[in-house]
Amino acid sequence: MKTDEFNIVLSGVGGQGTLLVAEVLGTAAIKEGLNVRVSEIHGMAQRGGAVVSTVRIGEKVQAPTVLEGQADVLVGFEPIETVRSLRFASEKTAVLMSDERIFPSELAAKKMTYPDMKDIVEKIHRFTGKIIIVETEKLAREAGSTLTQNIVLLGALAATEKVPIKNESLIEAIQELVPAKHVGMNVKAFKLGYEYVKKMKVQA
């Protein structure tokens, strides 16, 4: 699928596997002969801290990072981190968010509570009406491990039919990048995420 510029922002917490999803998307884009840039942050920025990875696909793409307001899709691996990356969103952005909360240690230390999910959704709505919440933990458990929540989200992302990459290329990339013994579980996670959003769309 030819495109000038398609921007994906992946926002989460270090250790959630945002980098793997970014790499799967990048690898799949290469399989389809597309131009792509993936940005990553390593080292100090990773230790349980907030992490943002971006994937940009298209002929015109040069820089790895996404301009404010220009995400086509914002994939939030965690609700607070989804809000933190809203600067990349605008009315054109589809937000895909995991409902899996990871408590920042600041909460306990400062006796704060985790923000209400209703407030989080309201905040997202100030930028865009297109929001899908995915029960990633439940689906990942079903796939065989809660560690596959990232791939559940990738499946959900594929189901939105916005990303200019075919499912087969994404699955092939998963097979290449995930250790052989975990491939089955991850492909299942992909499918569960995919079906979850498809079903939701039918209901809607």
């Binding site: 990048g26 792509v36 080292g43 230790r47 809000v83 306990a108």
Partner: protein, 625 residues
């Protein structure tokens, strides 16, 4: 992570997604490099890490050197024997290696030698954001600046070619956004690495005593005249876009170039673009001609006005009428932090008077509102991290008192509450020295905090100084048996080399003993009372003492257990818990959370390190069985 064996495929024209750093590793393989050395440092680490994975199969030699200057020394030794070599390091690593660099420029090399310096604008993982292009000016060595992974690979090969032609080391300068960007890379042919060198004695050339250095300085300057000719015709310096009106030109390099192109498009500017890939020496004639053809020229570059200074000097001679915009006389672009398409577009808009098509201030205003009270999530010590135990033990003994001079590594994260360990931190190894100065002029206890790899890198001279000058300091070496922060590379204490073969384990306690430290103890930080006793004794000591806090990095320990199929049974909060919050207040462990006023253990994060058990006054934390 990808299977790095893809780097070994001899399939010219194959198109692969590679990280900028992996692309440099591939470039090394295509250039027939025989020796690769490094000291790990973000954002450079994956260059040599990738090579380490495949070195034996590729038939080349790779090593994790003790620090950057030794890395350059080893590689330069090999290159002086005609073997092609590469050394990779982060920007501040070149400060460490600079003594070698400055005079190696005089002595030169026989085999091609490329030194990769990965700069870190925005300090994503660094203590400063210095612009290492100035090292090219300072040392008088050629410098190449790729802007994406493809160029990173290609320029590694170019750097080796230039190096061999001029018999000089060549700098390859990346930034975080080049090193840590994945993009398509089209392969060339693999070369067979040559590992066999020959040392030809030549005292005048290689022994830099004054009588030899003086003429060699001149030789260097002459070589750089030839480098200028190479730069004039280099395919890496080229006008990539022409304009219709010929009024406006943009000159850019490295990651800034990507933003410049996209920002110019965003504004719909009719501008030509001169992309510079070889930025030392600059192609003066080419730039002079380019300036003459335009009325206005905008220089877009990250960090210092390195290009702007030189281009303004060129303009004075060759095109005095052209108006040059950048960050010197008026700051259209910032000197600090990394650039972005937004920042560059703003600068271009200010210079050209074109309006921005996106209202960024509106986005910012809305974003500031929604993110106002959002809990912060800075990087923290992992659950089960032995450093947390070490810091808890120290706080238990010294309370709020004591000055902690800390160092570069994961343990710098100890500055976060509730541990608050870390009062001064400057550069690799500085903890031990700064602690001595503080101890000398204050009445306070001073503890130097330093990691195992950092101790080997730069801690030992400071330790000898403490013994020699009898400074009353406690040197706490937090030995987690790996170089954790940069991706778990081995070091002399691990008994494993970059070739992934076994070697002699160098023991920190033996080094301390050998340096003449009278009080040396090794403790397990998870054994709180034993550690307390040792620390109290160390603090009583009137001279220097060394405590090695030894326990493996939790990430490595958990990974090893998982690979052996050992299940980690997370601890549980029992009904004895009174929610006194002692564990929360004292440890700041990410596995300990508070949900609806109750303490909870996140079983996905808990590594069963047991530190919280030692802390709990009600014995309310236990195993699941």
């Amino acid at each position: 992570m990808p299977n790095l064996r893809v780097l070994l495929e001899d399939k010219p024209e194959k198109r692969v997604l590679l990280l900028g750093n992996e692309a440099i590793a591939r470039g090394a393989l295509e250039a027939g490099i025989g020796v690769v050395t490094t000291y790990p440092g973000t954002p450079a680490s994956e260059i040599a890490d990738s090579i380490s994975e495949i070195a034996a199969d590729a038939g080349l030699y790779m090593e994790y050197s003790i620090n950057e200057i030794v890395a350059v020394e080893v590689a330069a030794g090999a290159a002086s024997c005609g073997v092609r070599a590469l050394t990779a390091m982060k920007h501040v690593g070149l400060n460490v290696a600079s003594d070698m660099l400055m005079t190696l420029a005089y002595a030169g090399v026989r085999g091609g030698y490329v030194i990769v310096t990965a700069d870190d604008p925005e300090c994503y993982s660094s203590q400063n954001e210095q612009d290492n292009r100035f090292y090219a000016l300072l040392s008088n060595l050629p410098c190449l600046e790729p802007s994406n992974p493809q160029e990173a690979k290609d320029m590694t090969i170019t750097a080796i070619e230039i190096s061999e032609k001029l018999e000089l080391p060549v700098l390859l300068r990346t930034t975080t956004r080049v090193s840590h960007t994945r993009g398509p890379v089209t392969y060339g042919r693999l070369a067979t690495p040559n590992l066999k060198g020959k040392f030809v004695k030549d005292v005048k050339r290689l022994v830099m005593v004054p009588a030899n250095s003086r003429p060699k300085h001149e030789v260097l300057l002459r070589a750089m005249e030839r480098a200028k000719e190479i730069s004039e015709t280099s395919p890496h310096n080229k006008v990539v876009r022409t304009s219709k009106s010929k009024e406006l030109g943009i000159v850019s390099s490295s990651s800034a170039y990507n933003y410049a192109v996209e920002a110019a498009d965003l504004l719909g500017l009719d501008a030509s673009i001169l992309k510079l890939g070889m930025t030392h020496p600059l192609p003066e004639k080419m730039i002079g001609e380019y300036l003459k053809k335009h009325q206005k020229v905008i220089i877009v570059e990250e960090l210092e006005p390195y290009l702007e200074m030189q281009i303004k000097a060129i303009a004075k001679d060759k095109a005095p009428d052209v108006d040059i915009y950048g960050k010197m006389s008026k700051r259209y672009f910032p000197k600090e932090g990394e650039l972005s398409t937004r920042v560059v577009a703003k600068g271009l808009a200010d210079i050209t008077g074109k309006g921005l098509p996106i209202d960024f201030s509106e986005i910012k205003e809305k974003y500031d509102e929604v993110s106002k009270n959002l809990p912060a999530r800075p990087p923290i010590l992992c659950a089960g991290c032995p450093h947390r135990a070490s810091f808890y033990d120290m706080r238990k003994v010294v309370g709020e008192k004591t000055i902690f001079a800390t160092d570069i590594g994961c343990y710098a994260l100890g500055i976060a509450p509730p541990l608050n360990v870390g009062d001064i931190m400057i550069c690799m190894g500085a903890s031990i020295g700064t602690a001595q100065g503080i101890s000398r002029v204050t009445d306070e206890n001073t503890i130097a905090i330093i990691g195992d790899s950092t101790f080997f890198h730069a801690g030992i001279p400071g330790l000898i100084n403490a013994v020699y000058n009898n400074h009353k300091v406690v040197v706490a070496v937090l030995d987690n048996l790996t170089t954790a922060m940069t991706g778990h590379q081995p070091h002399p204490g691990t008994g494993v080399t970059g070739m992934q073969s076994a070697s002699e384990k160098v023991l920190i306690e033996k080094i301390a003993d050998g340096c003449g430290v009278k009080y040396v103890r090794v403790v397990d930080p998870f054994k709180v009372s034993e550690t307390e006793t040792a620390l109290k004794e160390a603090l009583q000591n009137q001279g220097p003492s060394v405590l090695v806090f030894r326990a493996p990095c939790a990430l490595v320990a958990v990974r090893e257990k998982r690979s052996k199929g050992i299940r980690i049974e997370a601890y549980k909060i029992t009904d004895k818990c009174t929610n006194c919050m002692a564990c929360i207040r004292l440890l700041g462990c990410p596995a300990l959370t508070v949900e609806e006023g109750k303490v909870n253990i996140d079983e996905a994060l808990c590594t069963a390190c047991g530190l919280c058990i030692s802390v709990c006054p009600f014995k309310a934390i236990g195993g699941s069985t």
